[in-house]
């Protein structure tokens, strides 16, 4: 028990003392997770809204696959991305395995299903409310997609945050495709795993505290924005 508090004390000193190693890992983590969340949103939001509004063959199958992908074991995603990006793989010529770019790719693959599935739900609710009115105004289904995305923007913010959270807390896939290389692809989660196994609990705990604080702050922000929007936009 004493061990935990001692480590926590050192951890807080690392955070407060602006330990360069800790903060460079934190910064890299945030950058990569943000990039993945943005890329995942750019793909997942329109995809989710299209599935919600559209009528096309295979729509139901797509929904089932999307929901199944939510439970995708991240290590398997890492493995598949690893195979695609490895020298002999189809995308090997880009040579991005064990670089931050590979981490973004793997995290994006994990973020897209979450964002698309949650966006589909939000868009489907909105479409149920808007369908008759928009059709009456002469809005095509395809034209309705950006309209609905914009109109559910405050709910979708929470969706993108969920995607960011998934990316930031990801370990397995990031370890496999990034390689946890010090100063290059070592992010918060892989650093925590490594430091814990090495027995360097203060750094691991310090990173853990920062990780939790980041996720908390982002969710608080999203919650605040939703509250504000409900009051001001109805």
């Amino acid at each position: 028990m004493f061990e935990i508090f001692a480590s926590l004390g050192v951890a807080l000193q690392l955070i407060g003392g602006a330990d360069p190693e800790l903060w460079s890992i934190v910064l890299l983590s945030l950058k990569l997770s943000l990039a993945s969340a943005v890329a995942g949103a750019a793909i997942g939001l329109p995809l989710g809204a299209l599935i919600a509004v559209g009528t096309f063959p295979g729509r139901r199958a797509l929904i089932v696959i999307l929901n199944a992908l939510l439970g995708l074991p991240s290590v398997v995603v890492g493995l598949v991305v690893y195979l695609l990006l490895s020298r002999a793989g189809p995308l090997g010529e880009f040579g991005i395995l064990f670089t931050p770019a590979a981490i973004i790719v793997a995290q994006t693959v994990l973020v897209v299903p979450i964002v698309a599935a949650l966006a589909r739900q939000a868009a489907e609710d909105a479409w149920g409310e808007y369908r008759e009115q928009l059709t009456s105004l002469g809005v095509s289904r395809l034209r309705a997609v950006p309209t609905i995305l914009w109109d559910t923007r405050f709910s979708l913010l929470t969706v993108v945050m969920a995607g960011f959270g998934r990316a930031a807390s990801e370990v397995g896939a990031v370890m496999v495709v990034g390689g946890n290389i010090d100063g290059v692809t070592r992010v918060m989660t892989t650093a925590i795993a490594l430091e814990t196994s090495k027995g360097d609990l203060p750094l691991a705990l310090g990173l853990g505290v920062v990780l939790i604080a980041v996720v908390l702050a982002i969710n608080a922000g999203a919650f605040g924005i939703r509250e504000w929007s409900a009051r001001h936009h109805g």
Binding site: E132, T135, S136, L137, R143, T147, D151
Partner: protein, 235 residues
Amino acid sequence: MAEARPFQLEARGVSVVLGGVRALDGLDLVLEPGLRTVVLGPNGAGKSVLLRTLHGLIAPAAGTVSWSRPVRQAMVFQRPVMLRRSALANLRYALAVNGVAEPERTSRATAALARVGLERIADRPARVLSGGEQQRLALARAWALRPEILFLDEPTASLDPGATAEVERVIASIAAEGTRIVMTTHNLGQARRLADEIVFIHAGRAAERTAADRFFDQPASNEARLFLQGELPWK
């Protein structure tokens, strides 16, 4: 405002089945320009379904709805659906979708807001307006599209008397400009005030069609007579 070029809307043998229930059952109706038609009938008679079918929101299971020429149409629903943006932006959106370019888009939207007395709240988010204001905004949005025919499905059903009077005033003035009005209501006083003719729907068919001034005193059909007496015709 609306074109004077006449048109005819013809529904022939229209049947609509919704959720296994036959909402319209071989309905015949011909609408010509210039009149204000109010569709009356008991709950579940198919009034709303009729309007939606004529407007093209519901495809009939049997029968046809045909227009003598392409006609600009709009519909106002019982509960207005506003987009999560300002009142003015809601009108601009409707115009943009219908191919109205700037600067006409904004000038037409602004004129429509003034038309329903909402110019003060142009920049307010549409979804936090009161029910009456939202319904007037819905009327402005429909009017901005310069429809030749305007369908209204119980436009005042969820409004208080003051807001109802405002909405009725706007409907009357839109009709005065030559827009064909087809509306449903549960409010017989409103039907008296706004209708030139009454189409009475019963069990998915048009049971009768009578000039408004005659209908309330001398309805032609037994169902309408019972309806006006406050009876339930299906009992």
